[in-house]
């Protein structure tokens, strides 16, 4: 028997909504293990979110509606994005609403409003955060797109389902272009999700924080939404990378069997991916903000090499 596409859609959405905190928790646990600390457990993020939802909201006097609207928008856009990237099955109805470029732009929308929210209160921190965030993003986005374009040139399509199915059914060969692109993608993903060496999610030190600085003034359910969306974003970037570069095992249709298999594969990939990221994060120290251009530049270089390699070698 097989599931109806919309059922799959729902399944995927609920999976991401439900398990994104768990994934974030898993990352934290891994990190603690690697750094030899005792972890708070995978479920800690759930507790945090619940606690935040429970709290009252404290708003600065001059916060405008943009400040209050942003968390909802962030959450909403993230959820839509979650519905777009095919994770377990290629046959995903929502996936047609936005191709990979639109997806990147959707994340851009989130960033835009978060940055505005950062400036809304009118504090030095907020401005600093927004400024740095937008700077990094404007350097990261080209590299991001280049990395993805390599894949879309290979599959000559920008629609995710098409890309995934092409890559999935391509017989397994080492394609230098994709290798380069993947490397670039990882670097960018670290930057986009605000991880070390670009940003440090676990700090409130004014000199180091970027994303945190923007949401400094948030509290209560607003903060909860933002945190939750952030966790989903992390998961989504992994998902995006997986489905763009190594979608093997993803189910072509809705048969339960293949779906189950796909789920297992996905879980494994996510765990491995998380491990990789944790190792990188532990291995590296956070960069000075003005060294970031070099970092992102090298990512861009890798992506470009990937594209050139595609035209020259394949």
């Amino acid at each position: 028997m097989s599931l109806h596409p919309f059922a799959i859609e729902l399944l995927q959405l609920s999976l991401l909504l439900g398990l994104a905190p768990a994934f974030a928790g898993w990352v934290k646990v891994l990190k603690c293990r690697v750094q030899g600390r005792t972890a708070a457990g995978i479920l800690q993020p759930y507790r945090d979110i619940r606690r935040l939802f429970g709290k009252d909201i404290v708003l600065a006097e001059n916060a405008s509606w943009i400040f209050r609207f942003t968390p909802y928008l962030t959450f909403g856009v993230t959820v839509i994005a979650a519905g777009i990237i095919p994770l377990v099955s290629v046959d995903l109805p929502l996936s047609a609403t936005a191709d990979v470029i639109a997806l990147v732009m959707l994340f851009g929308l989130i960033r835009f409003f978060t940055a505005l929210a950062g400036m809304d209160i009118g504090t030095a921190f907020g401005g600093m955060g927004s400024s740095r965030e937008m700077t990094i993003a404007s350097l990261a986005e080209p590299a991001m797109l280049m990395a993805i374009f390599t894949v879309s040139l290979a599959s000559n399509s920008t629609s995710l389902t098409q890309m995934v199915s092409v890559m999935a059914h391509a017989e397994f060969v080492i394609r230098p272009s994709l290798a380069f692109a993947l490397a670039a993608f990882i670097l960018i993903a670290l930057a986009e999700t605000g991880r070390i060496p670009v940003d440090n999610p676990a700090t409130h030190l004014e000199l180091t924080m970027i994303h945190e600085a923007m949401i400094l003034e948030y509290s209560g359910r607003h903060l909860a939404l933002i945190e939750w969306a952030g966790m989903m974003k992390l998961a989504l970037f992994f998902a995006l990378g997986i489905s763009a570069f190594c979608p093997w095992g993803i189910s072509p249709g809705g048969e339960i069997g293949t779906l189950a298999l796909a789920l297992v594969m996905l879980a494994v990939k996510l765990m491995v991916g998380a491990l990789v990221m944790v190792l990188i994060e532990t291995g590296l120290a956070k960069m000075r903000i003005f060294r970031l251009p070099e970092y992102l530049g090298s990512a861009f270089l890798l992506a470009t090499l990937g594209m050139i390699a595609f035209f020259i070698l394949e």
Partner: protein, 680 residues
């Protein structure tokens, strides 16, 4: 229903009449402004109708007026391309006219309203005529009418030196461009093979068969001229001078539509007159487009004068449009009609979009100026509390220009990206490889634009008031200004949500110009799904994205508001820092500082920090002054040398006139001898 050409003609005549009768309107005192500008709006609307019909049914109508030189009477013609630009001009004209009713009131008593009305309508008429003209002479007349009218409008506040300077620079560059275009027409007419005045008609130029050399000469002369008007880098220097100092409704027209007429001209020359051209033409256009886009947005980021910043963004967006055009030309030169159609549609779509959101933004800037009498962003802040409506509408403009879904800017940039990714279809290996790299630059542009508008909106509307005057004095602008902005914003939204309809409507233009069509593939899955070439390639659905986001937001909001929670309003926390003053906020310059550091080598940046150390402790500076000056490098690269050269030559020439009559006699003597010697 009257044929579109008549409607267009009516609209032009109405405007010209308005210009001529402007002095009479003075008699109706208070009604003068509403009456004049609602007539302007009506005329614009007529133009829109004419355009919409023409583009929709792809009809071509032409007529000949009895004016002009006999043997070369004024020809007018209305084909889909012209129709499309009628719509662009008309729409913005319509919105801006409504807006002006409120805006121009602000000048009442201070300056001559009659002058404003007269040149305003002449300006609109000129733009419409540029699009309608069908022979070289009439085209240039209209072109210069447009230039002259806008020149006087830039000069409107002529007691300010910056206005005079800007106006002069603008007129000069515009005129050089016009002469270049004139020469291009000269080439076309000369090579058209038709004798006498007949060669000057566009028909002759359509049928002309030019040798490749002449064709290149004609196209690049024309391109130079149009680029000068469009503000393509490095011919852009007048734009950030002229657009800011003009009255804001005029800035909206200039940035929104006037510079688009040059896009029209380039399309005419490339696709309509010359048709067969080598691929490298497209590459030149593409390259210049990319440069303009990136440099434009970077310079924009460095500005802290709101309108100046927007002007630099016009440079950027013209660049984006040219990118589409360039790609389209490249595809067309390799005879890939469908792909050429896609790129062309992308370009035209962005033309329309930019007209909308840039118009909206300039109107917004005008509203801010109107309310605060301030153009310097460093003196603003927190206006969202004082001007809630303006703020909301301005935000839509910002989102649109930052190419973020679900608004219109995104759609056209998305289409341009799609065009980029079609490069593998090209037979030319090098192009295959290079063109996608351009996509990266486009991405960079988009991201920087987003950054820039976070800065604009954040500094102008968010945060706290930085200015010296009391913010309580600032009040929301009147209904007509809001109305104009509201309609524009609405259009931005609709253009973003229903691209399939727009593309279906546009379809006649690519069909006419490069033989390709897009509609049936783009709209195969109904109005909801935009699939430019095929659904396997790429697809986007504005409606679903919008509805989806809206739905999720609504649901979450409802769920979270089931339980009543207290929302406490408290002073700013800011990690518990005490005594936070508005001066501590990030300023515009501060916001763009990281980018200035990273890409500073592109500008002529001069930073000065003066620290006056306090007497008791050197580590504690008493006062600290920071001065930042950023100049357009192109000034001292291109323009200053030219000026110096001109004056040097002038000095040398002046030596001819050195006063003593014997010398003068000697001149005539020598001239005679020389002529006699070289007689044989």
């Amino acid at each position: 229903m009257a044929p579109p050409l008549d409607i267009a003609g009516f609209s032009v005549l109405l405007l010209l009449a308005l210009a001529l009768l402007a002095p009479l309107l003075r008699s109706v005192r208070t009604l003068q402004i509403p009456l004049a500008f609602s007539l302007g709006a009506a005329a614009s609307l007529a133009a829109v109708i004419a355009g919409v019909i023409t583009v929709a049914d792809g009809s071509v109508a032409s007529a000949t007026l009895t004016l002009g030189i006999p043997g070369l009477p004024f020809h007018i013609r209305l084909d889909p391309l012209a129709g499309f630009f009628l719509v662009v001009i008309g729409l913005v004209g319509f919105f801006v006219s409504i807006y002006s009713i409120g805006y121009v009131k602000g000048y009442g008593g201070v300056r001559s309203i009659t002058q404003m009305i007269c040149f305003y309508s002449l300006f609109l008429a000129g733009m419409l005529l540029v699009v309608l003209a069908d022979d070289a002479y009439f085209f240039l007349v209209a072109w210069e009418l447009m230039a002259a009218a806008s020149y006087f409008l830039v000069m409107y506040e002529d007691e300010r030196a910056e206005n005079r300077r800007a106006a002069f620079l603008y007129l000069l560059i515009a005129h050089v461009g016009a002469i270049a275009i004139l020469l291009a027409f000269g080439v076309m007419a000369g090579q058209s093979g038709r004798g006498g005045f007949d060669g000057y008609t566009f028909d002759a130029m359509r049928t002309a068969h030019l040798s490749s050399g002449w064709a290149a000469a004609a196209f690049f002369l024309a391109f130079f001229g149009f680029a000068a008007k469009a503000g393509v880098i490095p011919l852009h220097v007048w734009l950030p001078e002229a657009h800011p100092v003009a009255p804001s409704n005029i800035s909206a027209l200039m940035s929104g539509v006037m510079i688009k007429t040059s896009i029209y001209g380039i399309c005419r020359f490339a696709f309509d007159f010359i048709k067969e051209f080598p691929w490298w033409w497209g590459c030149v256009v593409l390259a210049l487009g990319l440069i303009s886009a990136v440099m434009g947005v970077l310079y924009a980021l460095m500005q802290h004068d709101l309108k100046r910043l927007l002007a630099y963004h016009s440079v950027e967006n013209i660049g984006i449009i040219l990118i589409g055009l360039g790609l389209s030309m490249i595809f067309a030169s390799f005879h890939l009609p469908t792909l050429a159609a896609l790129a062309l549609v992308a370009a035209l779509y962005h033309t329309l979009n930019h007209a909308m959101f840039k118009g909206l933004l300039f109107m917004g800037a005008g509203a801010v100026l109107h309310a605060t009498h301030e153009r310097n962003m460093e003196e603003m802040g927190g206006l969202i509390h004082r001007l809630p409506w303006t703020a909301a509408l301005f935000l839509i403009g910002c989102v649109s220009i930052s190419a973020l879904p679900p608004f219109n800017g995104f759609v056209s940039e998305w289409l341009t990206f799609q065009a980029f990714l079609l490069s593998p279809a090209l037979p030319h290996p090098l192009l295959k490889l290079l063109i996608p790299l351009g996509a990266a630059l486009l991405a960079l542009t988009g991201a920087l634009a987003a950054a820039c508008f976070v800065k604009v909106y954040g500094v102008v509307f968010l945060g706290q008031w930085r200015g010296h005057q009391k913010p309580e004095r600032i009040h929301e602008v009147g209904p007509s200004m809001l109305g104009g902005m509201l309609l524009t914003a609405l259009t931005c939204f609709l253009l973003g949500i229903f691209p399939t309809w727009v593309i279906a409507w546009l379809d006649t233009i690519p069909k006419q110009l490069c033989g390709g069509r897009l509609a049936e593939s783009a709209g195969k899955f109904g109005w909801m799904w935009l699939t430019p070439l095929s659904h396997e390639r790429a697809s986007y659905s504005g409606p679903v994205v919008f509805i989806g986001i809206l739905a999720v937001v609504a649901v979450t909001w409802l769920l979270l508001h089931l339980r009543a929670t207290r929302v406490g309003r408290v002073p700013i926390w800011d990690c518990g820092f005490a005594k936070l003053t508005p001066r501590m906020q990030y300023t515009a310059s501060a916001f763009s500082m990281p980018i200035r550091r990273v890409l500073g080598f592109l500008f002529a940046v001069r930073e000065q920090v003066e620290i006056v150390p306090q007497t008791n402790h050197p580590a504690m500076p008493g006062t600290l002054q920071y001065r930042l000056r950023i100049r357009d490098r192109f000034w001292n690269w291109l323009y200053e040398p030219q000026g110096d050269a001109a004056y040097w030559i002038a000095r040398q020439v002046g030596k001819l006139q050195q006063g003593r009559i014997q010398i003068y006699l000697l001149y005539s003597f020598v001239t005679l001898i020389v002529l006699l010697v070289f007689l044989g």
